[in-house]
Every structure is written in C-alpha cells, then in structure tokens.
C-alpha cells in the first residue's frame, strides 16, 4: 500500500523533524523523542507530560503549548514510549511544583510511565499520575486489561492544562484530571482497518460492506462486526453505548472525533446525528468539538466522547489554549 514515507524505520523521527520545522514554539528533541513547550519549566506551575504510541496525531505532541501539555513523548507507531523519554520530559518541565503524567490505560503505557515515575522521583521530581480509561467498548473485568484510554484524553489534557496554567497545585491539577476522566465515556467505530508503516498494509481484514463497532485506536479489531450502517444508526449505537454507562446530570462536552481518513464533511454530518440522539435522550450539550484529534493512522471511522461538565470544568475547557492541534481564546 502506498504511504507518504521514506522508510518505515524513520517515520517517527521524520515527523518530529517536521513538527520542529512547523512549530517554533515547541522544542523538539528528535534524538530522545521529547516535545517540550518553549520556555519550560514555568515558575511555580505544574508540568503536564503525556505520551503514547505515534499514529494518533495530533495527540499528544500537537497538544503541547500554552494551556495544555508542557511536554509529550511519542513512541514508535502504536507502541508506548520508553521510560527514559518521560523521565527526560519530567526533568525538562519541572519547576519544583511537580509533574502530572497523563497515561492512557494500555498495559505498555502503564508499565513504561510507572518506570518513568520511579526514575523521575529518584531525581527529586514530584510525580502524580492520572490514568485515562474512557472506552465503554471494553468490558472492564478480570478478563481484560481494562477500559482503554481514547477520546477523553483530549478533555483531560485540555482541562488539567488550563488548571496548571492558572497555577493550581499538583494535587488539584491531578484531582481535576481524574474528575474529567471519571466524567467521560467514549465509543469508537471503524469503517476500514488502518495500515501501519511497519506492516505496510491493513492490520486486520474488514470487508467492504461491513463495519467494526467498539474499536480502539491501535488498529485492533473491535467488539462486534455488522453490515454497514448509516451515520444516524452509528450515532444511535455509539451514544446509547455511552449512555448505558454514564447518565449525565450536567450538560456534556461532546467530542465527535475522526479516526484519520474520514472527511470532515462526513464527520459534521455525523455530529448532527450525535446531537439528534442526545436531544432525543434529553442530554443537553454544552460544547461540541468536531475533527481529527485522537486518530488511528489512516483508519476511516469515528468516535464519540461525552464528558459531563460542571461549571468549573466548563470554565477550564473554555480557557485559552494555544497548541498546534487545539487553539482558541487567544
């Protein structure tokens, strides 16, 4: 399959060189794979470090900047970064106020961030961690690795980032991050499989005329396969899957997220259907964000994330943000 790459081995490094070229407000260490906001550490402010496998752009590197992450650590494609990266990032952003690690719940990410936290604490950096696990497609039980972290990561990074920007202390920033995670649920759908550069083709076989319901963001197959559905049917299914688990008692933030290869035209149509379903289920919507934010390479499809937001979360969500991937209020 055709890809706009040189060789698979340098895909991540090549992208990092491009990020450095395009975004002078970021300090990109291509060799050690750390993206840091220029000027860090910021006196008296908590540092926010996230990271994960590459292939989900703009997550996480695209969310480094004022009002969001202080640093991001990209791993190989769909492979968590190594502990050395996060330890290096923590050292780069710690002002003495401590560092929050935002970790998506995957076995690899959890293990590598845990090891990084030990390394950073050995160097005297105070670390707090928040685990993002919002994906209702995974039955959280003894029989799985637990719910995956997906779209809610954006809300966690945005809201915790705004609190850190205001100078909130580490325990407060961490508590807000956990509140956002606990208030958020997601559900994703694939219309096509994605192709990793290493494999050079689709990571699973999804025939024409069928879709996968309940997919993650790493090209892993989902919970169930069905004949192709309409945008409205997908919205019904996704929103209902979320509302089975989260009964919001406050207006929600809605992320209508593209997986990478679905055109915005289709995504906006889907956003309208999501709004229709939420109105039918009597769930008020406070804000809606539509776009490709937490992607899975070239997968076609979408995910919905709902976060029930009290006034404080909404205020922090609305606070100014200035990153390559998300920018408003400036």
């Amino acid at each position: 399959m055709k890809m706009l790459i040189n060789v698979p081995e340098t895909v991540v490094a090549d992208a990092l060189r491009g990020i450095a070229a395009a975004h002078p407000d970021l300090v990109v260490d291509v060799e050690h794979r750390v993206i840091v906001r220029k000027g860090a550490p910021f006196e008296g402010k908590v540092g926010l470090v996230s990271g994960g496998g590459s292939g989900h752009e703009p997550l996480h590197g695209g969310f480094v900047g004022r009002g969001m992450l202080t640093a991001a650590c990209p791993g190989e494609v769909f492979t968590s970064p190594v502990p050395d990266q996060m330890a290096r990032a923590a050292a780069a952003v710690d002002s003495g106020a401590g560092v929050l690690f935002i970790v998506k719940n995957y076995t690899g990410d959890v293990l590598n961030f845990d090891m990084a936290a030990e390394l950073a604490e050995d160097e005297g950096v105070q670390i707090a961690k928040v685990l993002v696990n919002d994906d209702v497609a995974v039955v959280d039980s003894l029989y799985t690795a637990g719910r995956r972290g997906t779209g809610a990561t954006l809300f966690v990074e945005k809201i915790a980032g705004a609190a850190a920007e205001e100078g909130a202390p580490l325990d407060r920033v961490a508590a807000l991050a956990r509140q956002v995670n606990e208030s958020s649920r997601s559900f994703g759908v694939a219309l096509t499989a994605c192709s990793t550069p290493a494999k050079g083709g689709p990571t699973f076989d999804l025939p024409d005329g069928e879709l996968e319901l309940g997919i993650g963001i790493h090209g892993e197959p989902g919970r169930e396969r069905r004949p192709m559905m309409t945008s409205g049917e997908i919205a019904d299914f996704s929103v209902d899957a979320i509302l089975e688990d989260l009964r919001p008692d406050a207006p929600v933030l809605a992320l209508v997220n593209g997986m990478g290869a679905t055109p915005l035209l289709e995504l906006y149509g889907f956003a309208a259907e999501v709004h229709r379903v939420l109105a039918e289920r009597k769930v008020p919507v406070a804000r809606t964000l539509v776009g490709n934010y937490v992607t899975s390479l070239d997968m076609a499809g979408c995910s919905v994330t709902l976060c029930q937001a009290d006034e404080e979360l909404l205020r922090l969500y609305d606070a100014p943000v200035e990153t390559p991937g998300l920018s408003w209020g400036n």
Binding site: P8, G53, G75, E76, V77, F78, T79, S80, P81, V82, P83, D84, Y106, T107, G108, L111, N112, M115, A137, V138, V139, L142, Y143, T144, A145, R148, T196, A198, K199, T203, F204, G216, H218, G219, E220, P221, R223
Partner: protein, 221 residues
C-alpha cells in the same frame, strides 16, 4: 579456579553473550513472523519492536562487554527497557534484569543457579504484568520452561539437556496458547475472538529460551 559444577559446564559471561548473539539473530529472522502473529490479536508490531531492542542490546554489549553472566543479563534488560517500548520492553527487561541481579557478580554459575535466576525473572514478569498462567501471555511459555528445566536438573541432566527441555516446554507452551482466551494485554480486548491465535509474546519467549538451548548445545555444555 571455576571448577565445573556437577550439573554441567559453568555458565559464564561469554556464554550469555553468545546467547545474546543467537537471540538477536533469531529475533531478526523471525521478526516478520512475530508481527504477523501480532496482527489478528494485537497491533502488528511485536517483531519490529523486539528486533529494535535486541539489535540495540547486542550493540551495547559488544561495545562494553560486561564480565559476569549476571551483568550481561542486566545490561540486555536495561537496553530492552530503553528501546522496545510497549508492554514487551518493561516485561522482557524485567525478566532479564531480575535474573541478572539474582546471579550477582559470580564470574560463572551452575545450571541450577541459572534456573533459579530465570525463576526469579519469571516471577518478576508475573508480578509486573499481573498475569497468571493461562492468560495467553509470555508466561505461558516461561513458566513451563523453568519447570521443565528444574525437572531435568533434578533428574540429573546437564546444562545443555536441561536447557533443551526448557526450550521444548516453552515451545509447547506457546503453541498451547492458541485455544486460550486472552485476559491480559491488548489481545484481551478481543474477548472470544482472541481464541484460535497463538500468542506472539509466548512465541517470542519460546524463541529466547530456545536460543539458550542452542547456545548450550553448540558449546557442548
């Protein structure tokens, strides 16, 4: 000074370095096959990640060869943690670091000491990953390998035969993951659909154990 222990030739730093060389060669050769196994129930990168890790480990050990078997294992483990990523990096890194630390700074160890070190490493993996036998993970190759090695040593086998028994058991354990339903790692998201696929982690674990057996056989241990 290092008398040959009763259970076979001593395992020294040169032995573990030869193992590393063999393991790196095998991982490179099998990388595509491991990635293929990782496609239906994972994310199609296990071979790529393992190859990156073992190439880095071989280079690091060649540049600064440690002089005890324990130190070689610790060095390889540290390189895997720093270069592999994913779950495999910390898990294999912990396996080898724990085993290496257990060996201490002895210049050469017996097969029984080596078996004890492997057991300590495997226990470390179980503790870190929280998996149990039958969860369709690398432990389904590693636990049987250590048990088989123990049994062979108790029965009077030498190093090479004991490691050969470990390799056979690891292989068998890896193949036996096929009908299992994954309970840990990324394959667990698939539930029932993980059944019918051999676990890539158990498969790579069997390759690494087999590399020990091959190293011992070639050395005539």
């Amino acid at each position: 000074m290092n008398a040959t222990p009763p259970d076979g030739s001593p395992i020294d730093a040169a032995f573990v370095r030869r193992w590393l060389d063999t393991a790196a060669t095998v991982v490179e050769r099998e990388a595509a096959a491991l990635t293929e196994l990782d496609s239906p129930i994972g994310d199609a990168d296990h071979g790529t990640n393992m190859r990156r890790g073992f190439v880095a480990a071989r280079t690091a050990v060649e540049q600064e060869p440690p002089d005890t078997p324990g130190a070689v294992l610790v060095a390889v483990g540290r390189q895997l943690i720093s270069t592999v990523g994913g779950a495999s990096g910390p898990l294999y890194g912990t396996l080898l670091r724990r085993a290496g630390k257990q060996l201490g700074d002895e210049p050469a160890v017996s097969a029984a000491q080596f078996r004890d070190a492997l057991r300590a490493g495997v226990d470390g993996v179980a503790q870190l990953g929280g998996a149990a036998p039958g969860d369709k993970t690398m432990l389904d190759a590693l636990f049987p390998a250590v048990d088989a090695m123990s049994k062979a040593l108790d029965g009077g086998s030498g190093t090479a035969d004991a490691l050969a028994a470990a390799a056979a058991a690891a292989d068998e354990g890896a193949v036996a993951t096929t009908p299992l339903r994954a309970r840990k790692g990324r394959a667990s998201y698939l539930g029932e659909r993980s059944i019918g696929h051999q676990d890539p982690g158990a498969t790579s674990a069997a390759l690494l154990v087999t590399a020990f057996a091959d190293t011992a056989r070639e050395a005539g241990a």
